[in-house]
């Protein structure tokens, strides 16, 4: 219990470290029970204090290291991805908490068709109503699974929601004013891949791959306590993984050379693969990816479609967040399958529509 409120504020000023942790008086009974707990917390706060002292002492060298152009550019992109994603994460988390607390489980049983094979496309289409980017859909899909929605349907929703909602489709139309068929192709390919992934999971998926999202039980608590408990849990949890994804994306943007893209564009097959990989690595919000795709002028429309289909379904920050919500074993199986199917879906749709 030693890490009280004092801990994070010390991050920006050393003063609070000096004051002894002023946790509320712990009653004797629970203090006894938590002595082990307290000891580990003590060593943790000690480590934190040492770390902060180091930060203060090494301020000069750290500052100069951070002012190198590569580092500045890295930090700007890192902060930008987070500042951009956090509002949508909060939106998704609020929705997920509302689902978890205020919507009875029986609602989903009634709203979705009994047969999972039919529930999947319905859930996929339902993705169209979640206005936001992929950061919002992970916590919502987690809440759906906990609410007893069949995982296959929840996964179809997870994959389709960031790509086929009106905001993203409008952005796509604005970015490709000369190719309105791009909007239709994106919608069709994304929904197709989402449904196929759902059916695939229904056939091949095993429940033990999917770690049920852990969280405290909210039964017996007031609705308010349960709602806010769910909000803060989801923000802390998904937010941590979002940070990992943002770091990866910032590293790519700041370090990887852009020149290799030009050589990749020459071969049509390599071009599709290259843009699919780029979509994974860049981890751009699905509301903005159409503009980036449009700027990759040397690539074919099908390659751009692959970029637009793959990006919202699987990228570095999504992978980190999925691993955090559903377990690493799940993410390691789900991500590659999604990647391959998304490319296949994009190529197929591209061949028909573009």
């Amino acid at each position: 219990m030693a890490i009280t409120k004092a801990a994070p504020p010390t991050a920006d000023s050393p003063e609070p470290v000096a004051t002894p942790p002023q946790g509320e008086p712990v009653d004797a009974k629970s203090a006894d029970a938590k002595s082990v707990d307290a000891r580990s917390a003590d060593s943790k706060s000690l480590a934190l204090i040492v770390l902060l002292l180091l930060l203060v002492v090494l301020q000069g060298p750290i500052r100069s290291a951070l002012s190198v152009p590569v580092m500045q550019s890295w930090m700007t992109v890192f902060v930008a991805v987070l500042v951009q994603a956090l509002p949508f994460l909060v939106l998704g988390v609020l929705l997920s908490a509302a689902i978890a607390v205020f919507v009875p489980a029986s609602f989903f049983a009634r709203a979705l068709p009994k047969r999972p094979a039919l529930a999947i496309p319905v859930a996929g289409m339902a993705g169209a109503v979640l206005p936001g980017c992929e950061c919002a859909s992970v916590p919502v899909a987690g809440a759906l699974v906990r609410r007893g929605v069949t995982p296959a349907a929840a996964l179809a929703f997870l994959l389709s929601a960031p790509a086929i909602n009106p905001i993203v489709l409008t952005a796509t139309a604005v970015a490709f004013p000369r190719n309105p068929e791009m909007v239709l192709a994106r919608f069709v390919a994304s929904l197709l891949v989402a449904c196929v992934m759902g059916w695939l999971w229904q056939r091949l998926g095993r429940t033990d791959w999917l770690r049920p999202p852990e969280r405290p039980h909210y039964e017996g608590q007031s609705k308010g306590a349960a709602f806010w408990g769910s909000v803060s849990h989801d923000v802390m949890h998904a937010g941590g993984f979002l940070v990992i994804g943002a770091m990866a994306a910032a590293t790519l943007k700041a370090v990887a050379p852009a020149g290799w893209l030009r050589t990749a564009a020459d071969n049509p097959l390599v071009a599709i693969l290259a843009l699919a990989v780029l979509a994974v690595l860049l981890s751009i919000c699905s509301e903005a990816d159409a503009f980036v795709a449009a700027s990759l002028t040397q690539f074919s429309l099908t390659a751009k479609l692959a970029f637009l289909v793959v990006g919202p379904m699987i990228d570095l920050k999504l992978f980190a967040m999925q691993a955090g919500t559903f377990g690493r074993g799940f993410a390691l199986r789900f991500a590659p399958a999604t990647f391959v199917l998304a490319i296949a879906g994009a190529v197929l749709t591209g061949a028909v529509l573009l």
Partner: protein, 251 residues
């Protein structure tokens, strides 16, 4: 991470978002249109942190009452304390530090020279602004120079503001990053400078360049995109504009 630490991180995160949203800090990272959502999410995070503290405190008091009255404290008490967020949550402190302590600047010449110019053929031209010299954005000048062959701006003195970037050989460019959503998708639009270039040019310094249209062009070595030249007659340093990015593309 226990409940108090959680509440503190949530509070600081919310406060940092509010701070960035109320000042112009957020414009270094995201588009202007995100401001309301940013402020809203900041407020929600602070509310979540206060709620966490409040329910923690209430849960504890209820449990204490229960102990006093000789009841078993039960699960209710344990729940509030035993549950901890995984270590990965501590990573949320990093963006806090970056945003509050460092507040990195908007993307500058380093990213601009690594990325090809994003100039694209427009679907029409806005009406020319009035003024003498004529104030134009970097994007506006570059589009008119390349795709309109300078039809309406030929021979007129022009005012263009952007930051300086130097390529490997030391040739100067005037650049503005164009942004759609956040800095991760920002792309440069470049103008090469010729004429009376100031003798000392520092990358990332903002300049207001007065000059005239010239038909000379070059290619961006990164993506072969077209880069028009601008013949400089005068250049004076200016402070970083309120919104360092060009957002005219994301209407």
């Amino acid at each position: 991470m226990n409940r108090q630490a959680q509440a503190a991180v949530l509070f600081l995160l919310g406060a940092a978002l509010l701070h960035a949203g109320f000042t112009n800090l957020y414009l270094r990272y995201v588009k202007a249109g995100l401001q309301p959502l940013l402020l809203l999410s900041g407020a929600v995070l602070i509310a979540a942190s206060l709620a966490t503290v409040w329910y923690e405190w209430r849960g504890r008091r209820k449990a204490d009452d229960a102990v006093e009255h000789g009841h078993d404290a039960g699960d209710d008490h344990g729940d509030g304390h035993v549950h901890r967020e995984p270590r990965v949550s501590w990573l949320l402190v990093l963006p806090l530090l970056a945003l509050i302590l460092v507040a990195p600047p908007a993307l500058g010449s380093y990213s601009a020279m690594r990325t090809g110019t994003a100039l694209q053929q427009p679907y029409g031209y806005n009406k020319l602004p009035t003024g003498d010299p004529l104030p134009l954005t970097v994007v506006d000048y570059a589009t008119r120079a390349v795709y309109d062959h300078g039809r309406l701006i030929k021979g007129r003195p022009l005012d263009v503001t952007g930051f300086v970037a130097l390529d490997g050989a030391g040739h100067p460019y005037l650049v503005r990053m164009a942004l759609n959503c956040c800095a991760a998708d920002a792309q440069p639009v470049k103008i090469a400078l010729t004429g009376k270039i100031p003798p000392v040019l520092q990358p990332d310094k903002w300049l207001e360049v007065t000059g005239t249209y010239t038909a000379r062009r070059t290619k961006d070595p990164v993506n072969n995109g077209p880069i028009p030249y601008l013949r400089v007659t005068e250049a004076k340093p200016v402070p970083v504009p309120k919104d360092p990015y060009d957002e005219s593309w994301n209407n």
